[in-house]
């Protein structure tokens, strides 16, 4: 446990000056900032639509959630899986890492957990900033009716789903980035996978849920369908989420065996 902890601390120490770490913070700040700025700028027009509070929130949070879920999220996850491993490939430091008196599982698990943590931080900030900026907009433009509805449940549920649904991609990409030191192979496979995932999810192929890359899209699509009826009632643990978690755990274990068998050249 101690080995896992120090490995995790070291992962943070190593990456705290890299884009991978800052992306987790900058991405939500920039996207939520831009959307809020848009809402502020177009306040008159939006107010003229007379959305009920819940729909206004849906409209507002959907802007970030939509962009994130369909496009940025898979690529962000692919990038995280890549950068956590690339820091060792690029500097040729795998040999140093595995020559430390630490068990291999801790080194591997710390890297994986760190990627999970970065994704969590990113999505957590998305949810928090959506909430905060919404209320900030309300304060700046009192005619908005953001304050008349509490969106925390829907935000927490949506982002929790997005987070859990992306773990399958993370585990798969993590193995690819662990095996290959170059950028193009994992990125290329991830790119093709993501496109395939979006298409299969949108055409409603019944086995689409078996492709990890389609899971974030599927998870959010169901959110949207159910939102019309009772927005708070949609369950977090749906089929896609379970599939994602199963993929994540199986691939995580496979990844560990790859690490133990791997000879460090």
């Amino acid at each position: 446990m101690h080995a896992l902890y120090i490995s995790l601390v070291s992962e943070f120490y190593k990456s705290r000056k890299t884009l991978a770490f800052w992306a987790a913070i900058l991405l939500p700040v920039i996207i939520c900032g831009l959307i809020s700025f848009g809402f502020y700028y177009d306040a008159e027009k939006i107010i003229a639509n007379h959305y009920p509070p819940m729909l206004l929130w849906a409209h507002y949070s959907g802007a970030a959630l939509g962009v994130m879920g369909f496009l940025i999220m898979p690529f962000y996850v692919i990038f995280m899986a890549f950068s956590v491993n690339n820091i060792e490939h690029k500097n040729d430091t795998w040999k140093m890492l595995f020559a430390q008196p630490l068990n291999k599982f801790s080194i591997y698990a710390a890297k994986y957990l760190y990627a999970v943590l970065l994704i969590f931080i990113c999505l957590f900030l998305f949810a928090t900033l959506t909430y905060t900026f919404g209320h900030l907009l309300q304060a700046l433009v009192p005619k908005f009716n953001f304050s008349q509805y509490n969106p925390s449940n829907i935000l927490i549920n949506s982002y929790a789903k997005l987070f859990l649904a992306s773990l399958g991609i993370l585990s798969l990409q993590f193995i690819l980035s662990l095996l290959w030191s170059d950028f193009l192979k994992p990125m290329g496979i991830g790119f093709v996978g993501t496109i395939m995932g979006i298409i299969t999810a949108n055409v409603g192929w019944k086995y689409a849920y078996l492709i990890p890359y389609s899971l974030p899209t599927l998870a959010l699509r169901i959110t949207k369908v159910k939102k019309g009826a009772d927005p708070l009632a949609f369950p977090v643990f749906t089929q896609e989420i379970w599939t994602s978690l199963i993929y994540a755990s199986v691939l995580f274990i496979i990844g560990y065996f790859i690490v133990t068998k791997k000879s460090i050249k």
């Binding site: 101690h2 120090i6 490995s7 601390v9 070291s10 120490y13 190593k14 000056k17 890299t18 820091i87 690029k90 500097n91 040729d92 430091t93 040999k95 140093m96 890492l97 595995f98 020559a99 430390q100 008196p101 630490l102 068990n103 000879s263 460090i264």
Partner: protein, 302 residues
């Protein structure tokens, strides 16, 4: 077994079908500076990686401090510091941050980082990004990383690579210091015998994965047989004359004849013989075959 810091017993290692290390039996005594010599591609780095358990060795072939490596990996790694090939340095971190990161991983005080930086003469460059370091500075940082945990056993793979003459002397003195004053055991690999000769107490010579020689540096010296060099006019006929007189000629150039050295009396007799037969001997001396040639001989014949 108790006296060896490193012992391998008939170690074999293959990459696919290619045998990299064949039946290698290293014996590195505690407290020694063991020069691990061999040409490029002889299997030195592979062996060092096996000693660090980076490459999987068959069970019961590698023992460090008397313990089998695969079943005691962590306990053994705690006692080893290593520099393998290029130093493993994060380019986006400063020299100091690289060492602090190592402190985190080893669970030691971060103050140790500064201490190490001064030891390897990088104190002034502590806050410079490691990617901006020169090759020699990177090498020093690599050595600092290997030393930071104060390990009993140091595995240094070509540590003087890229260092200028001053740096080479510093590393050499540091190694001697560590072994004599701090009782460390050091295994240092090199393809330059002259380098090893100055520091090592023990030598192992490896070529194509096989250990060709292992012993103390004195034992290696004994292997080199002395030669008698004779500078003489007309080496052609002098050579022919000596061969006819029953001498064995090892080498002959247009200025010099080389024969095995036996004793000073014999050399004198040879001199007289040549002069009496009308040859002009301008010089005659005994020469020890230098280790460089010996090394080449040992590695060539196999």
């Amino acid at each position: 077994m108790g006296n060896y810091a490193i012992e391998t017993v008939g170690l074999n290692f293959n990459f696919g079908n290619q045998a990299i290390v064949k039946d290698l039996s290293l014996q590195v005594p505690k407290g020694s500076i063991y020069g691990f010599l061999g040409p490029n591609g002889a299997g030195k780095t592979t062996t060092i990686k096996i000693l660090l358990n980076l490459l999987k060795s068959p069970a019961d072939q590698v023992f460090i401090f008397g313990k089998e490596i695969t079943s005691n990996r962590i306990a053994i790694l705690k006692r080893i510091g290593a520099l393998v090939e290029q130093p493993a340095i994060y380019g986006h971190l400063t020299g100091k941050e690289n060492l602090v990161n190592r402190c985190i991983l080893l669970g030691i005080k971060k103050a140790k980082a500064d201490e190490m930086l001064s030891l390897v003469g990088l104190a002034e460059a502590a806050n410079k990004k490691a990617s901006k370091y020169s090759l020699g500075m990177k090498q020093r940082l690599g050595i600092a990383q290997a030393l930071i945990s104060d390990p009993e056993l140091l595995l240094l793979d070509e540590p003087t690579n890229g260092l200028d003459p001053n740096g080479i002397i510093e590393v050499r003195n540091l190694m001697i210091d560590l072994a004599t004053k701090h009782q460390k055991t050091i295994l240092v690999s090199s393809h330059l015998l002259a380098e090893i000769e100055r520091t090592a107490t023990h030598v192992g010579i490896i070529n194509k994965g096989q250990l060709l020689f292992q012993g103390t540096i004195n034992e290696l010296h004994l292997l080199s047989k002395p030669m008698l060099q004779i500078e003489v006019d007309n080496t052609e006929s002098a050579g022919a004359f000596l061969t006819n007189s029953g001498y064995e000629i090892v080498a002959k150039t247009d200025k010099m004849i080389t024969l095995p050295y036996t004793s000073s009396e014999k050399s004198g007799e040879l001199n007289t013989l040549l002069i009496q037969n009308g040859f002009t001997v301008s010089s005659l001396y005994q020469q020890r075959k230098d280790l460089e040639n010996l090394f080449l001989d040992i590695t060539k014949t196999n």
